[in-house]
Symmetry: C2
Subunit: 144 residues, 2 copies
DNA sequence: TGTTGTTAGTTACAAAATCAACTGTTAATG
DNA sequence: CATTAACAGTTGATTTTGTAACTAACAACA
């Protein structure tokens, strides 16, 4: 395409990252949304608890960098669906430990395998070394 | 951290991409938002017109993959601020050509240099070959 | 030419994200 | 201890997004 300007939007990292993230998230969402009608925020909370086990909302926030109100609401919805339970920390009553129920763990296991498949599909678009480099660089970017 | 599960969320590409995209977009937004109080959608439309020149909303949609309602609203806001003008195509009266005004071009030029600086800052976190690989792979992912 | 389909863009309404203010609790310090 | 600050989490108001239905214009083709 003819450009009026030598700055290339397609090479601007934040833009490029967004395009790639949006593309892959939407494609992945299309795969899982029908099974559980789950939001991205709920999906994330579920995965955090499924992978790392019992933890507080605060810890989920530190790991995921999601805002606490998003987490609060996602937790409420997952609780409604009986996917998790809360337990007050008696030593520090501000804290609430969240833990998946049997149904929550089952949902996680199912979505986990969907995720693994999808990740493999994406990875197949690259050479193995490339995927490794990509993950490494993204990792680095994510914690700048 | 102790994991209960060998699946690693930090290596799951859609998640990783989102984290990296969110991180870099927010950081970039903090730099430019005070100058123009502009939304990400508006920023994108402005850049498309600044870089590629006069085009229709539809073309912006094809390039950016933003949904047409987002574009429609971003265009309306940019027009309110007198950053762009619309011109009806007389041959096909459904089409409207969008073009930056002087003020719009000035805003673009300013934000463009902010973007170039920020991109350089990000790139500095990597070796030059790494950045090239990263851009290539993201490019590829974005158009899967 | 008239009917049906398609396209560009907008709008109305519902869903979700953001921000600020709030509750209840613990920590810090005089 | 009493008061103030800090923290975990929730709620409410506002803003932004997403979905679907809509308008206006063009296209195809019987």
């Amino acid at each position: 395409m003819t450009k009026k300007d030598d700055f290339d939007l397609q090479d601007f990292l934040p833009y490029l990252l967004n395009q790639a993230a949006e593309e892959s998230s939407l494609a992945f969402q299309n795969i899982y949304k029908d099974r559980y009608g789950m939001l991205r925020t709920e999906w994330r909370v579920l995965f955090h608890l499924g992978i790392y086990g019992r933890m507080t909302a605060k810890e989920i926030g530190e790991r995921s960098k999601m805002h606490k109100t998003k987490i609060s609401r996602a937790v409420a919805r997952l609780e409604e669906r009986r996917f998790l339970t809360r337990e007050r920390d008696e030593a520090d009553r501000r804290l609430e430990y969240l833990e998946l129920t049997g149904a929550g763990r089952a949902a996680y296991q199912e979505l986990r395998s969907v995720a693994i498949d999808y990740d493999a599909t994406l990875a197949r678009a690259f050479a193995p070394e490339e995927v490794a480099v990509l993950r490494k660089l993204l990792h680095h970017l994510a914690k700048l």
